[in-house]
């Protein structure tokens, strides 16, 4: 009996813990987008922001889809558009498409090795980057330079293993099982 009661009404700390675990991916995504805006003077900082957003959305949609629901992804995409001076809503659409694609291929990707997931992410990110380039070229009515496209694809592919190493540690927490 007592076990049932504990399950129904967890203590405040436990609920706080669960809530923080639930909110962590979204908070980390938004916070990271803002941190990349700091004037750090890194080369390719502009390319890093969409790459970071794509890596976050791919990883969490793959391993813990419930903690990065579609409205949060759309809002993050909107934030990215506003920070980046991209056309309004463009990255919201692209991140949602990325999430949809990830969720659709989730069952096949989860049992695979990390290397394969990485390759799939690189392919998805390249496709999203190419789409962003095409959409912006059409909206600008001019062919935009291709060098940033390549830089962003490389940034996304290079960033993913580092981010994944960090996220996997967060994902393997004791209270994470029920959220998976």
């Amino acid at each position: 009996m007592s076990g049932v009661r504990v399950r129904r009404r967890p203590s405040a700390w436990r609920r706080l813990d669960a809530a923080s675990r639930y909110a962590w991916p979204a908070a980390f995504l938004v916070f990271g987008l803002l941190v990349i805006g700091l004037p750090l003077g890194l080369p390719g900082q502009a390319e890093l922001r969409p790459a970071y957003a794509m890596a976050c959305v791919f990883f969490w949609s793959l391993y813990r889809p419930s903690s990065l629901p579609a409205p949060i992804v759309a809002l993050s995409g909107l934030l990215l558009d506003l920070l980046d001076m991209a056309p309004l809503g463009l990255w919201a659409v692209l991140l949602l498409i990325l999430q949809g694609a990830t969720l659709a291929s989730r069952r096949r990707l989860i049992p695979q090795f990390f290397l394969l997931n990485w390759l799939v992410f690189a392919a998805y990110a390249a496709a999203a980057t190419a789409l962003a380039w095409a959409a912006q070229s059409i909206l600008n009515l001019s062919v935009l330079p291709l060098l940033p496209v390549a830089a962003q694809m490389l940034a996304a592919a290079g960033l993913y293993p580092a981010l994944a190493a960090l996220f996997i540690r967060a994902h393997r927490g004791p209270a994470a099982a029920e959220l998976a």
């Binding site: 700091l38 900082q45 809503g89």
Partner: protein
């Protein structure tokens, strides 16, 4: 919490993604239809973010500028040597500048030259580097006072050495400066002593291109590039950069402003009571009545 049946909840969770996708696509359309919406949202967000960025950017710059007091002790000797050499060189230039100033004054006196009034300017910290892949812009935190009476959209941003860009969006606490390297940046310029007209166009790379110069007279390597008053967007004579021929033998401008590491920007707001930069046809009482330039012209008459 509302209790819903399991199938209904599953259907709902499956529907969120398509619904959000439709919503975002709608947003793209709305953003295309109403271009000012994105601007409003962006300046609102910038106003929210600017104080936070300002708080964090200070320490970041301190770290970037070296290891503080202890770190500076180690290279005092070398730095002193360098500063002495630099000081000697600057003193020479000071002499040159004083001579030129005297000559300039004499020439102006003989021409009955009326100096242009200095525009109002604000100095702001560059707190965030918010360029996109195809957009080069920085966020400037504005001082809290002195902006109540006018908008600074269109103000010209200069760092210590040259023109860096223009303000494209401004809220009450922040302004977004579109840099001259941005793809959408077009600055009418005058090249060299003769002031040959050309257009400086941003290319998304570090050095903007020079377009539309007179075909017979290509810009000379090393010539100074100044802003030109053609089109009325810029006042004449602000330093922009230096002509250089790149590997493809196309003339580009090497900007004087240190665009990769902007720290402080001065925003020159040319208010409506400043002299009119371009002549505007006088009789246009209808729609032109709202334009500040037209208003300025009326006061000048």
């Amino acid at each position: 919490m509302i209790r819903l049946s399991v199938p209904f909840r599953q259907a709902l969770s499956r529907l969120t993604l398509p619904v959000m996708l439709m919503f975002s696509l709608g947003l793209v359309l709305i953003g295309r239809a109403d271009q000012s919406l994105a601007g409003h949202l962006r300046s609102g967000l910038d106003d929210l973010l600017a104080p936070a960025y300002q708080l964090v950017a200070g320490p970041v710059q301190t770290v970037e500028h070296g290891g503080g007091v202890i770190g500076n002790l180690f290279d005092l000797e070398g730095e002193n040597e360098m500063l002495r050499a630099e000081n000697a060189k600057l003193l020479q230039w000071q002499a040159v500048a004083l001579a030129l100033e005297a000559q300039n004054d004499a020439l102006k006196a003989s021409l009955d030259y009326v100096p242009q009034p200095t525009p109002k300017f604000f100095t702001g910290d560059v707190v965030a580097d918010l360029g996109g892949v195809y957009a080069r812009s920085v966020l400037v935190a504005l001082p809290p006072t002195g902006l109540a009476d006018q908008s600074i959209v269109g103000a010209i941003a200069m760092d210590g050495r040259g023109v860096a860009g223009r303000v494209v969006e401004a809220g009450s606490r922040s302004a977004r400066v579109l840099l001259i390297t941005d793809l959408n940046s077009r600055v009418p310029v005058a090249i060299g002593a003769a002031g040959a007209p050309a257009l400086m166009a941003g290319t998304n790379g570090p050095d903007p291109a020079l377009l539309y110069w007179a075909p017979g007279q290509p810009p000379a390597e090393g010539a100074a590039v100044l802003t030109s008053a053609v089109g009325g967007a810029f006042p004449p004579g602000l330093p922009v950069g230096i002509v250089h021929y790149n590997a493809q033998n196309d003339p580009v401008v090497l900007p004087l402003a240190d665009l990769d590491a902007l720290r402080l920007l001065r925003l020159f707001a040319y208010a409506s009571n400043e002299p009119v930069l371009t002549p505007i046809p006088a009789a246009k009482p209808g729609p032109a009545a709202h334009s500040p330039l037209a208003a300025a012209q009326r006061t000048n008459h």
